[in-house]
Structure formats: structure tokens, C-alpha cells
């Protein structure tokens, strides 16, 4: 817990979010409090409807909490968004079919008004970071699903925000591709020292990637357990067979089950 000494990058206090629907109010988040320190890799895990995606969207100012407070880099989420504090990766790559891979990565840079030379330099740098250097001039449909998702990560990294928010980015990919991307993501995290918020359905994925695992449960959406991982930062895939890994996975599973027993 030594790295929580500094002011947290993301800090939520007693935050609730209720959606008004035709079937009555839905408590997507209820009294959620959480601190995320700089450089952490935080996974949010839980069943559908537990509010993990909603929590990420609140950080990104795509949803607004109904009560409680949340700060991102010490600012309100809206100010943080305007200050371009984070890059967001969605479940689908969502690349523009009419732009090349380089063109897609360039999109946020164009919007944010980087100079042309700066755009080129940054595109080259982040494409290399996600190992897509040779594909700059290809169109999205010419790439596999895993490569498209890597391009969308490059797009989120292009403007060099400190925070990377990822909403089930590998959810639609098969197990083998997912393993490879998980490895690459850890490598990328080590090289860029970003703070990452990562939503997932998968227990092994959460345990393998995270320094902190936030276990959530639905109706109302809330945090049932926060696990600080004792695993080292550098993790080969084989670590998933180690007793520590299995122990953490077990604790996550217990947390998920406890959430369900409450109902």
C-alpha cells in the first residue's frame, strides 16, 4: 500500500448513480467509495448490471453521479475530460472504416489540434507501441479483430493522457488472442506507467493484469471487495499456475459469490 501515499488519481466518495427508467429507478451504483493511485492497474469485475461499466463511464464524464463526489486528477470528471486526462477504449474497436489505421489513430490528434508533424510522430510512436507499425496504411477491415482492438488502444494512447480507461476491451476476442493481448497490455503499462482502469468479466484476466481488483455486485451496484494483488509487476503468463495467483482468483470468486448470496 506504499503507492497510495500520494494523492489518488481517481477518488470516489459515497457516490451513487440512479437511472430513471420506465420500470422505476435502477440503482446502477450505490454509495461507492474508491481511491486509485497513480500507476495502478485496477480491474473492475462483477456480473452484468453491477455498475462496473457505469463506474468507468462516470470517471470519463460519460455519466454523471446522482450523489456523492468523484475527482479525477483532483478535478471534476468534466474538467478532467476537457483537460484530456484520459483515453477510453470501448468493447468494440469502433475504428472508422473510411480511415486507415494511421488515420484512425490520428483522429483524436486532429480534434485536439496537434500540428501535422506532431501528429505523424505520435502516430508512428503509438503504432510501434502496440506492434502495428507495418499496418499504418491498411484499412480496418484488412485487420483481424485483435489487431483492430490494438489499433483502438493506440488511438487512446495517441494524445498521451495519464489515465487509460478500458471497458471490456478484449471481451469479444477468443482466448488465445486475449492471452497475447493481455501480455502486451502489461508490457505497455510497464513502459508507459499509465494508470489503467479495466472492466472485465473474466477472473483470470483481472487477476493476471491487476495491482488492484475491485469486486462488484449488482442490485444495487456496489463494491463488495477490494483486493490488492501481491503479485510482482512483471508477470509471465505462467504466473497463472502459481499458488498465489490461484489464491487471489479464489478470493475474487468468493467475493462474487458473496455478492450473489445477498440477493
Amino acid at each position: 500500500m506504499s503507492d497510495t501515499m500520494a494523492a489518488p488519481v481517481i477518488s470516489a466518495r459515497d457516490m451513487s448513480l440512479t437511472f430513471q427508467t420506465n420500470d422505476g429507478p435502477v440503482h446502477a451504483l450505490k454509495n461507492v467509495s474508491l481511491d486509485i493511485a497513480k500507476g495502478e492497474f485496477v480491474s473492475f469485475i462483477g456480473p452484468s448490471g453491477c455498475g462496473k461499466t457505469t463506474f468507468l463511464r462516470v470517471i470519463a464524464d460519460l455519466e454523471q453521479p446522482t450523489s456523492g463526489t468523484i475527482t479525477v486528477n483532483g478535478m471534476s470528471p468534466e474538467d478532467a475530460r476537457r483537460a484530456r486526462a484520459y483515453g477510453y477504449v470501448f468493447q468494440a474497436a469502433g475504428l472508422y472504416p473510411w480511415r486507415t489505421i494511421a488515420g484512425n489513430v490520428k483522429l483524436p490528434l486532429e480534434i485536439m489540434g496537434f500540428s501535422r508533424a506532431e501528429q505523424e510522430a505520435r502516430v508512428e510512436k503509438v503504432l510501434e507501441l502496440v506492434e502495428l507499425s507495418g499496418f499504418a496504411r491498411k484499412f480496418p477491415w484488412q485487420l483481424s479483430g485483435g489487431m483492430q482492438q490494438r489499433a483502438s488502444i493506440a488511438r487512446a494512447l495517441a494524445f498521451d493522457a495519464d489515465i487509460l480507461l478500458m471497458d471490456e476491451p478484449f471481451g469479444a476476442l477468443d482466448e488465445i488472442v486475449r492471452d497475447r493481448l493481455n501480455e502486451q497490455l502489461l508490457d505497455l503499462w510497464a513502459r508507459t506507467e499509465k494508470t489503467i482502469g479495466f472492466v472485465t468479466h473474466s477472473i483470470p484476466e483481472a487477476v493476471y493484469l491487476s495491482t488492484k481488483i475491485v469486486v462488484m455486485s449488482p442490485r444495487p451496484g456496489r463494491i463488495t471487495d477490494v483486493i490488492d494483488s501481491p503479485l510482482p509487476r512483471t508477470r509471465p503468463l505462467e504466473i497463472r499456475d502459481s499458488p498465489e495467483f490461484i489464491e487471489i482468483a479464489h478470493r475474487v470468486r468468493e467475493g462474487l459469490r458473496a455478492g450473489h448470496l445477498d440477493e
Partner: protein
């Protein structure tokens, strides 16, 4: 080919009555081959045979302009007896109307997508405008504009506009709304302005829809121009040829004008198709 064959078969019974009447008056008896030959070559048949229409098309375009007394080769300007001349008159009105109609359609669609009040109010009016029969409103527009001194190309173009803006509005509203929530959220994470969202996301997303609706729009614009030529006293244009053809029972002339219109429409749609393919290929969306 099957259609042409069917057409030839239909020519015989359609024109047989006239042929037999003529033969009876002459006191002659028609054999079947003679009857068939006659139905294929009447001056004013009920249904002209395909080769008659083709010949009329050829004569009223190439032959007239090359050798006619008032043709292009003799006078340096298009003959008013030629379908090229009439086709050009209609085409110019069509293109002007189509250009205005497309611009109007796109502008309305942009307004509908970006302005809540326009979203609620414009579409019902646009739909209502299309339920009015064009044949009823076209003469009124022509007459009213004529009364205030607007004549010639513009009134016809306005009727073309009237017909062609609608498919463009419908297509572009759909197209500009094509981006899903995720893509709009992505733009929001970049804190993109409304103009940026439009230029970088909505407009490119709408391109395939735009071309589909332009194809419908240009065909409608041609219909509008032809209809607009009917009440102008049949001076010039394919509509005028249709009208004078029906005044004087010149069925061959009517049919050749119809075919000229069809060829014109097919040509314009093909041109848009070429532009569409080129644009979408450049955008990496080979269609």
C-alpha cells in the same frame, strides 16, 4: 431481350384492327404474313414496333443534327426538331433542380439532426409536400411564377427541386444518425465540438446513404422537369415532345421521347454511380 420479343408479339393484335379496316376499305383480303408486316410499319400505330421507335430515335437525334436543314451541322445550333435539343432542355432544368434539391435536402437533414425544433417540425411537412400530386401543383407553380415574371428554366427547376429534395432529406437524416452511441461517446471523450463531430463522424458516415438518395433524387428530378414542361404550352423539352406527340397522334414520337427520358435517367444514375464508387473507394469502403 424477352421484353423486346414480348413487345413485338403485342404489336400485332394492337395494330391489327387498323390494318384490317384499311384492307376492307380497299376491298382486299389480308394474308397473315401481310397483316403482320403491316402492323409493324404503320404511320400512326397504336403501339409502335421497337424498330420503329429505334429508327425514330436515330432519325430525330443523329440524322436530324447531321443532315437536317436546321440541324447542328448546317446551322451550328441544335435543331428544335431534334431529341438532342429537347433532351438538353429537359436535362438542364433537371440538373439545376437536382442541384438545388440536393443542397436543400442536405441542409434540411443537417437541421433536423442538430436542432430539436426542426426535428419535430420539418419531417411532417416534407412528407405532406410529397402527398400532393405533382401534376396538380406543377401548373400552379408555373403560372404563379410566370405572373411574377419568372419563366424559362427556373420554374421547371423548382418543380424538379420539389420532387428531388425529399429522398435526399430522408436518406441524409438516416445517414447523419448512422453513428452509434459508442462512436458519439468516443467523440465526447475527445471533447470534440459539434462541428468536429459533424465533419469527422456524421458526414463521412452518411456518404453511402447520400449516394443512394441522390440516385433516387435525380430520377425524381427528371420526372419533375418533364411534368413541368407539360403545362408550358409545349414549347421545348421531352415533356413538350410527349404532349405534341399526343396532340397529333404521333405514337412513335411519344415512345421515342419516353425512351430518350429513360436513357437520360439511366445515364444520370450511372454517372452518380461512378462518382459513388470513386468516392467510397477513396474512403476505403469499396462498395
Amino acid at each position: 431481350m424477352a421484353l423486346v420479343a414480348l413487345w413485338y408479339v403485342a404489336v400485332v393484335p394492337m395494330n391489327a384492327q387498323w390494318a384490317q379496316d384499311q384492307a376492307r376499305r380497299a376491298g382486299a383480303e389480308l394474308t397473315l404474313p401481310a397483316l403482320i408486316a403491316d402492323t409493324m410499319s404503320q404511320q400512326r400505330p397504336r403501339l409502335p414496333a421497337p424498330h420503329q421507335v429505334a429508327a425514330e430515335l436515330w432519325n430525330s437525334t443523329v440524322v436530324e443534327e447531321m443532315t437536317g436543314r436546321r440541324g447542328f451541322m448546317n446551322t451550328g445550333s441544335l435543331s428544335n426538331r431534334s431529341l438532342v435539343y429537347h433532351g438538353w432542355v429537359t436535362l438542364s432544368a433537371t440538373l439545376l433542380g437536382f442541384a438545388i434539391g440536393s443542397a436543400l435536402g442536405i441542409a434540411l437533414a443537417v437541421g433536423i439532426v442538430h436542432n430539436r425544433a426542426m426535428d419535430a417540425s420539418v419531417m411532417p411537412w416534407a412528407i405532406a409536400s410529397q402527398t400532393i400530386p405533382i401534376l396538380a401543383i406543377a401548373p400552379m407553380i408555373i403560372v404563379v411564377l410566370n405572373a411574377i415574371g419568372v419563366t424559362g428554366l427556373v420554374p421547371k427547376a423548382i418543380i424538379s427541386t420539389y420532387l428531388s429534395f425529399f429522398p435526399v432529406v430522408v436518406g441524409m437524416v438516416k445517414g447523419l444518425r448512422a453513428p452509434d452511441h459508442m462512436q458519439l461517446d468516443l467523440m465526447k471523450t475527445y471533447s470534440a465540438s459539434g462541428g468536429q463531430v459533424f465533419a469527422k463522424l456524421r458526414w463521412p458516415s452518411a456518404m453511402p446513404y447520400l449516394f443512394a438518395s441522390l440516385k433516387v433524387g435525380i430520377a425524381a428530378a427528371l420526372v419533375g422537369a418533364i411534368v413541368a414542361e407539360l403545362p408550358t404550352g409545349a414549347v421545348a423539352g421531352l415533356g413538350a415532345r410527349l404532349l405534341s406527340g399526343s396532340y397529333y397522334g404521333q405514337t412513335v414520337q411519344i415512345w421515342s421521347a419516353l425512351f430518350a427520358a429513360a436513357i437520360l435517367a439511366a445515364g444520370m444514375v450511372a454517372v452518380i454511380g461512378v462518382i459513388q464508387r470513386a468516392t467510397l473507394r477513396r474512403m476505403g469502403m469499396a462498395a
